[in-house]
């Protein structure tokens, strides 16, 4: 079910073609029902996007700094965007690809592992269930001040046995990210799984479906909205993660956008804001695209999935 069909349907069902027949009444009604929502939408859009207009403006002004932006868009020069892809020491295109790959795999893995665990917590009763749920949350509350040292030691230990998945490997990094797959995500899904009536499972069970079948073919479909939310959260989390990635990934060709971008402004005394800003603007595109793509699942709602 796509948003367009929804809208067409709701147009047909709720408000007869506006503006044409009875302009005044329609407008009042429009204002009461959705007009104020648009006002809030516009205000919030300005609030959310304004600081980033700065960034966009800075990206169009090679040689400028972030503070130049008080006079927004004083220059329209796409030089920084071109320059971004022509730096052999800072392979932006490779970073972009790596980020998509690492973010994509990690978020798929997170969704899968998290959903498995949430299913167990929601549908099964076993000793240690409550304690287990609580522990998952508590583990993630530990201040990560020393995580870097520990992760370095751990991965260098793994490197001794499997160089391919240890330090300087993207698989190693993905595994570290998957370590955080449970935790908050499991809770988010657990809450949602609980809202799926257990009568559905039981009906399927009576039909003779095994637990794996129920899980993969019925439950996962019903909880699609939350899978999409968790997938997106995890994708954003991994793509913007910086500290661990900079320890694990050593070769510039293997690094991610967050690590690479930081290089543009961390050079002592030779910060390149414009290129950095251009890189950040492009870096936001995958997240936006993914969100656009997932939105229909996120707001599709239960009814959309449970029909079939």
């Amino acid at each position: 079910m796509t948003t367009t069909t929804q809208e067409q349907k709701s147009d047909a069902a709720v408000s007869p073609p506006a503006a044409v027949g009875h302009p005044r009444r329609s407008f009042k009604r429009w204002a009461r029902e959705t007009g104020w929502r648009h006002i809030i939408g516009v205000i919030m859009s300005i609030f959310a996007a304004f600081p980033l207009l700065y960034v966009f403006s800075a990206s169009l002004n090679p040689g400028g700094t972030l503070v130049t932006a008080n006079s927004l868009f004083s220059s329209f020069n796409f030089g920084s965007y071109v320059d971004l892809f022509n730096r052999p020491q800072q392979p932006y295109a490779a970073w972009f690809g790596n980020t998509l790959l690492i973010g994509g795999i990690s978020s798929l893995g997170t969704v899968f592992l998290g959903a498995l665990a949430a299913y167990a917590f929601s549908r099964m009763r076993f000793i240690g269930r409550r304690v287990g749920l609580l522990t998952l949350l508590l583990v993630q509350m530990f201040p990560q001040l020393l995580a870097v040292v520990a992760i370095f030691l751990l991965l260098s230990g793994i490197s001794e046995i499997f160089p391919a998945i240890g330090l300087n490997s993207q698989i190693g990094l993905i595994m570290v990210y998957l370590g955080g797959a449970l935790g908050v995500n499991t809770y988010l899904m657990y809450g949602f799984f609980n809202t799926v009536p257990s009568s559905i499972d039981e009906a399927a069970k009576i039909d003779g479906a095994g637990h794996a079948r129920i899980f993969f073919t019925i439950i996962l479909r019903l909880v699609a909205p939350i899978l999409a939310v968790v997938g997106l959260l995890s994708f954003v989390g991994t793509t913007s993660e910086f500290v661990i990635a900079s320890i694990v990934l050593i070769d510039p060709d293997k690094q991610t956008l967050a690590v690479g971008l930081y290089q543009f402004v961390s050079q002592e005394f030779s910060r390149n804001w414009s290129i950095f800003a251009a890189g950040a603007v492009l870096a936001a595109i995958p997240v936006m695209t993914l969100f656009l793509f997932l939105q229909k699942y996120i707001v599709g709602g239960l009814t959309a999935g449970s029909v079939k």
């Binding site: 040689g63 020491q89 260098s156 230990g157 001794e160 510039p252 930081y262 290089q263 050079q267």
Partner: protein, 410 residues
Amino acid sequence: MRVNNKGLWAVGALTVTASLALTGCTAASDTADNGAGTGEALTVWVDADRAAVLKDAAADFTAETGVEVKLVQKEFGDIRDQFIAQVPTGKGPDVVIGAHDWLGTFVTNGVVAPVELGDKADAFQDVGITAMSYEGQVYGVPYSIENIALVRNTALAPSTPATFDEMVTMGKAAGTEYPFLVGLDPEAADPYHLYPFQTSFGAPVFGTAADGSYDADALEIGNAGGDKFAAWLAAQGAAGVLNTNITGDLAKEKFIAGESPFYLTGPWNVPAAVEAGIDVAIDPIPSAGGETAQPFVGVQGFFVSSKSENALAANEFIVNYMGSEEVQTALFEVGGRAPALTASFEAASADPIVAGFGAVGENAVPMPSIPAMGAVWEFWGVTEAAIINGGDATSLWQKMSGDIETAIAG
């Protein structure tokens, strides 16, 4: 709610958890014992800017000696902590690029090995070798030396000012928005950029021992000159000449826009000004307190890990390749930092900007690399910012001096 063998499950989960955690621990400690695995390739950490130049030098080195050089690109700022953390595990690099003021921490942590420059020591500028020395021992091969100086927009100010006051007068006469620019942080000012003025009042941070190295026990920052400097800061802050709202980026921006004839900065900001079409001259830093204004000098260079299994190759690489005129000149050309090798520096001095900064650098002193400096940074900048913004000069400055002393005594 029935599930089979529920007890077993709990035990199982516990075992997995515990055993895997132990796996990690043991694996990690194994690593620490084994030391660096490969004795083949030489691992060198550099930042992105310099990786390109080193690539050629590394290729030459490999061609001549057969030793592979693996260049690892790191954030310059990350190198220090990661080097200290990784060398003890035996997984660290053989060679790193770094700043001389990290040396104290490196030596205290035992992660660097002394470097024998042999007869080559004379080929470097003295300040470079001094900066790379710690307790009488040389630990690094210097490659660049840099310091700040007064950058003047010749279109707005035709001559070199002799004193700070004269500069401000000239700056006001130029009719620009600001008589003088220096980038400060609203919260922590910038002791590095303000240091030449502080020394012109005769208030260095530390006194020096007989061999010219800094003496942590002789804190001089709170002397009578220091008080005068503090009063001067307050006066300049009140007059608006020093303004903590003008950050480094803003100062650069405004100088490029031609809004001030004078800009106290390092060589790193000059190219942008030149590109913007400003004709610049590099002047000595005018004295504010009567004595010579001595800026800090920062030296960058290469260090060898104390746990390197390629000690000979690493030495060969940094002394004979990184220390060669060819590489030093190439590094200068890419980064614009004045070379530490005298021959390369002289060649680079054909550029009046390099020569100008070099001339100012003759009065400069190395930034202290002794660990006690950490305690100084902690209080220094915020106190300066508070004084510039109207705090009570003398009492704050003395309070700072006392706090630093307490912190050093630990």
